[in-house]
Amino acid sequence: MPAHRSNRPLGWLAFGTGGFLVAFLLPVQVFLYGIAVPLGLVPDPGYKSTLELLRQPLTRIYLFVVLAFAFFHAAYRIKDTLADMLDMRKIDIVLAYICYGGAVVGTVAALWLLYWVP
């Protein structure tokens, strides 16, 4: 395998995409459901209508994509931070398994939760 087939580009692309999605979309999500609705800045859609929204396949795909990439974004950043903070660059393959393992678990959990929306 040539040297330039190091698997880092895959993780980096997921990291970059995740960073973009998290920076642009999650703040909107948090603002709407975490701030605007509780403060009454926008009319409360209520439980039933929110659930109805969540039943739409497009909503579920949107949430799945945002969450999955957010997990992989976090995995990349946490792995690098830990490797540098704890001076563990030499064994960063172990950290990679732990962090990306966590991202896979998070992604599967998101998929499972979104699939079983009542």
Binding site: P2, A3, H4, R5, S6, P9, L10, D80, D84
Partner: protein, 246 residues
């Protein structure tokens, strides 16, 4: 304003000392002096055994890089008076082995520089009969990276290089991009094997200190991120179109 200032200068002789120590010198605090002038005053008037590199005194040769109060600086363009009332602590560039006092070992850096082939590489037998015409846009693509003077301040500032001395590092990657982005060059493929490794661009965690300390306002951090995108495209191409690579 006091008429003198104290300089705490790192002293180290590997064959004599086990670890570096700091020696304090009192030098005149002159408004027109750079740190380098104060070091030359010490060398000429106080202690001729002090070792440090310098050459042009005008911020272009890249020889006189040192840590000034913990920050990598070209000492020939760092005013002494800005540190009044002192003391000022002068050390060798961080993350490099020290040969003597303020003189660092730069073989490692020069080896990395050579590996990225920082020159115009042609695949064909290129013998231009006249100037090679470039558009302003083609020049702009790489121009800022030509300003690098190999002073290694970016290596002293880079925490990643501090942790992993094998990291190709900011200046070498910026200079690789300087030629990769040059329309006259055809050597990008040859540089890929060096840059796309774990110790190449992928070691960088975008801390950005390299671009902060560069005395020539080169942005090595940008070069590294640009190349990450290039390397990622190449990676996908090598999987999707394996026949594209020989």
């Amino acid at each position: 304003m006091a008429e003198t200032i104290l300089l705490e200068v790192a002293r180290f002789l590997p064959e004599r000392d086990t670890e570096p120590s700091y020696q304090t010198f009192e030098v005149p605090l002159r408004g027109d002096w750079m740190i380098l002038d104060a070091l030359n005053y010490i060398k000429d008037q106080l202690d001729g055994s002090l070792g440090f590199r310098w050459s042009c005194r005008m911020g272009i040769c890249g020889s006189c890089g040192m840590m000034v109060n913990g920050v990598p600086k070209l000492t020939c363009e760092t005013l002494l008076s800005t540190f009044a009332p002192g003391p000022v602590r002068i050390g060798p560039l961080e993350h490099f082995p020290v040969i003597k006092d303020l003189v660092i070992e730069m073989e490692g850096f020069l080896g990395k520089l050579q590996k990225v082939q920082p020159w115009v590489v042609r695949k064909d037998d290129f013998k231009p009969q006249r100037e090679f015409i470039q558009t302003p846009a083609q020049l702009e693509a790489f121009k800022q990276y030509t300003l690098c003077i190999n002073c290694m301040l970016c290596y002293a500032a880079c925490p990643v290089f501090g942790l992993d001395p094998e990291f190709t590092g900011p200046a070498a990657i910026a200079l690789a991009e300087r030629y990769n982005l040059d329309s006259r060059d055809q050597g990008a493929e040859g540089r890929t094997d060096v840059l796309s490794q774990h110790d190449g661009i992928w070691d960088c965690t975008v801390i950005g200190e390299c671009s902060q300390v560069c005395p020539k306002h080169v942005d090595p951090s940008l070069a590294i991120q640009q190349y990450k995108l290039t390397a990622t495209k190449e990676w996908f191409k090598s999987w999707l179109l394996p026949w594209g690579n020989k």
